[in-house]
Symmetry: C2
């Protein structure tokens, strides 16, 4: 560019791929080029530690690294990437609550947007499942599990208790196995505080579509992992897919049903819609790059990590191997990509990406792990320790490292926190009731409106037997006692059969009322869908 002496490299996505690319670029080209990174959050999520956040072993804020701390000299912009204009070489981003939109120009663009979780292929799964993608997801799983123990400790309904104490993890890869191990460990450590719940009441199930768990690892290590988890009480169902999920249960493709109150989906990675919209060559939803990590026919566009299709050899047919969606790959790709951008700017030849395996490891929670390092296979405590030390060495930034090491140390010496942190009021959503459950008591404001989805609810007035009871079926609604008199003050609502309702919380009603009022004031038509 004539107006600016410095080349600008714009990196979109602040995960493993983007962050390490920025770091290498900045270090290798100190001052020669301008590096800017766009990230949705002001931190980088260390995803391999998320299962430990779900298990409560480390604080959520410690599983992430502040970008500004880790990337001195790089311009960090917290924003949502909206569109990329490849012809004009600009990226449009939206920042902050006010929706301020900026256009950023680049000389070189690095696409590192990772993947998203898409559960829409299994009916009901997206509505019911907890996911393991972000640090808030993982923390939510921890709180949810503890909440189930709390409620199970006092409920008087045996069916609700069974459901509350059944935990299912779907997906037997790294993430699923580590998550199920950590959840089991959390429950084991929390159980002594719940005197009315015994270990034998807990059911933890891991569902794996393939013939064995941990397909990423050699067979005998996977077998060891399965054996350890089984001994700790985890049921492992292999060759088992999930056909459908509803409020009551998981239905497997082998015809089993599991009444699990907690369903964690450790599967469903899919390309991000933004990546899908870019006019770039793709394969399996990923951006097709050459071995130099550059997009074909787009000399200034590069991609790496989970959103890139990266050949590992020169074979150009179905036999060709490609880089798997793993942090260790993204980490090594970043180094090559940074060097290649500088080589490109300087007119030097580019280097192909070659993966150097350092080994594979998985933690099973409870101070157990499996690992294969430099051809040697480990299992048990040693593998777990190697896993921790290895990740600690990868984690950027001394502060974060010290904090995580402290979390681990504390977890060894003091009891694990069983504090359940959750949002205040009940959110809108589907709620399942067992026959006999009281939904709304006499005299109590229900806090919203219940729309009957299936089954029957009965409205009656316990202190006034003369009032005939009303039975409400699908499509009826009740609630909001004090506002519109639909339920009289002395009436109660009760599930007459097993039933499902959709609860619309007061605050959602209030939002809609606000919109209605704003529109009504001016006689404008209501937006479609309201």
């Amino acid at each position: 560019m004539a107006t600016s002496a410095m080349r600008k490299v714009l990196i979109i996505g602040g995960g493993f791929g983007g962050v390490f690319t920025a770091r290498h670029l900045q270090r290798q080209a100190r001052g020669r080029i301008a590096v800017e990174l766009i990230s949705r959050n002001n931190f980088f999520v260390f995803q391999p530690l998320l299962p430990e956040v779900a298990g409560g072993g480390i604080h959520p804020a410690d599983a992430v690294v502040p970008l500004r701390l880790f990337l001195p000299g790089v311009t960090v912009r917290v924003a949502e990437v909206r569109t990329v204009d490849l012809a004009k070489k600009t990226v449009h981003v939206a920042a902050g609550r006010g929706g301020e939109i900026d256009q950023l120009a680049y000389d070189h663009l690095v696409i590192a947007l990772g993947q998203v979780v898409d559960l829409s292929r299994t009916p009901g799964l997206a509505e019911r499942a907890l996911v393991m993608k972000d640090v808030t997801d993982a923390f939510h799983i921890r709180n949810h599990v503890l909440g189930c123990l709390e409620e199970a400790a006092t409920t008087m309904d045996p069916r609700r208790r069974t459901s509350l104490l059944t935990f299912a993890v779907i997906g037997g890869g790294f993430t699923g196995v580590e998550t199920v191990g950590e959840v089991q460990d959390l429950i084991r450590k929390a159980l002594p505080f719940y005197s009315s719940v015994r270990a034998a009441d807990i059911r933890i199930v891991l569902l794996q579509h393939a013939a064995r768990i941990l397909p990423e690892l050699p067979e005998h290590l996977a077998a060891y992992a399965a054996d350890r988890l089984r001994r700790r009480g985890v049921e492992i169902l292999v060759k088992t897919g999930v056909k459908a999920v509803d409020l009551e249960r998981i239905e497997t493709d082998s015809g089993q049903t599991i009444d699990a109150g907690t369903i964690i989906a450790a599967m469903g990675n899919a390309p991000s819609p933004l990546v899908q919209r870019l006019p770039l060559p793709r394969e399996h939803g990923q951006i097709l790059v050459d071995r130099h990590l550059r997009v074909r026919d787009n000399d200034h566009v590069w991609a790496l990590g989970d959103n890139a299709r990266i050949p590992l050899d020169d074979a150009d047919d179905a036999s060709a191997a490609h880089a798997p969606a793993l942090a260790q790959f993204a980490y090594q790709e970043a180094k090559v990509l940074a060097a290649n951008i500088l080589a490109c700017i300087d007119g030097r030849p580019l280097t192909p990406f070659v993966y150097r395996s350092l080994g594979t490891m998985a933690s099973l929670g409870g101070r157990q792990g499996v690992a294969e390092v430099l051809g040697m296979k480990f299992s048990g405590f040693l593998a777990w320790l190697a896993w921790r030390l290895f990740y600690l060495s990868l984690i950027p930034g001394l502060s974060t490292r010290v904090r995580i090491a402290t979390d681990w140390l504390l977890d060894l010496i003091v009891s694990r926190s069983i504090v359940e942190i959750r949002a205040g009021s009940t959110p809108s959503g589907f709620v399942r009731y067992f026959a006999g459950d009281v939904v709304v008591e006499p005299g109590v404001e229900p806090g919203g409106v219940y729309v009957v989805v299936s089954g029957q609810f009965r409205i009656d007035a316990p202190d006034d037997p003369a009032t005939p009871p009303r039975v409400l079926a699908a499509g009826s609604w009740f609630g909001n006692r004090f506002r519109d008199q639909e339920l009289a003050t002395n009436e109660q609502a009760r599930a007459d059969t097993d039933a499902v309702a959709y609860f619309v919380a007061q605050e959602d009603l209030a939002r809609l009322a606000t919109v209605r009022a704003l529109l009504d004031d001016h006689h404008a038509p209501a937006p479609i869908g309201l």
Copy 2:
């Protein structure tokens, strides 16, 4: 009771008052009585530490103590108290997501429900202000402050920048002073990471209605605190009440306006609606008890802490002193209350509550504090250290103490985490725009619907100047491009003047569409208000 030999004491509310009552009762009456505690959360919030959570000095999970850990032998039930039937001696509680409702009988009832925050007396305040009541509130404040720095670091609009960098705390009592001190400290520690934001750009204001801050403390200590805070750049406005708040600014009763993007309300304590509904004698909204902490004419009902009106002497007129709403009072009341319940059961005489002052202290953040202990006045680092050690000694449970001490130690040696943790998508609510702000870009899905509240928005198609622009005023709406074609794909929306819109997020629209569909399927009438 004939059926059960053991007397049952039911404590409602798991704060300072309730928790320490349960602990003393259980210890002093080991086995002789059954003690049950109802709490909304499975932990006890150590409120004096909340300002430090807001400042990021300690982890949210470390400012709370798990009840089951702290109260062995006590039955802990996580539930929401709904009603109390004093005649039948039962309490109705609702547990968990399924809304299961239980009736619990008692012989003695201890009411320790604390207070709520009620900001409704100042127009606009409830909609705009962040509060400091719960641990999630405090953590939210920390994330919000960091989010403002992030956005200010990249925004190109000078007015937005000013608003983002102006932080106001309303209320100059303990909570307000500690919060403003911690927020200042957080910003100071974070600022080196935001190279485009200078310390001089930051404005931090403390608004106090009374003639001086910290009315709870002797005048010269309050003066010291004010002086330290001023030197650290905090503007202190005394004798200044807030008249109204809108999206743009705070309007004080002295006619000043402050354009603050962040407003923290450290005031507005009010009696809980549940306490208000109980047929018990009250004064200033608090339950009136005698010096033995027993409710007059209700021999089996006791109250303490913030929800109780507790005389400190036998004067029966306006000159009578009453216990202030402070943790140290609740803590000491609990001991007397527990002893009195046992005395009552055994037919022994009751003991009146007498407060033994240990001193008063406030932390100012940044390793500064003020304290008066046993008549001696301290300030500066020593007072701050005394403050920390004193609270550490009060905190129940060894694990929690170790965790907090570790947080403090880490904060001294490694840099403070500037990670901003927030929920994923933009929530529904009012949004303020400056003239010229782009609200929706061409080609981008807006993620919801915008209802115009004030000002004007302009819709046009930048790539098609032939299309005449449309100007939308209050009562109109736009958005939802791909769903209903209201905005054409190539159109953009922009604030034409300074303007306010109410944004209804896609997920809220989806919820409502669900309800609509459920109702439409069965031709039922829509609930009023939808």
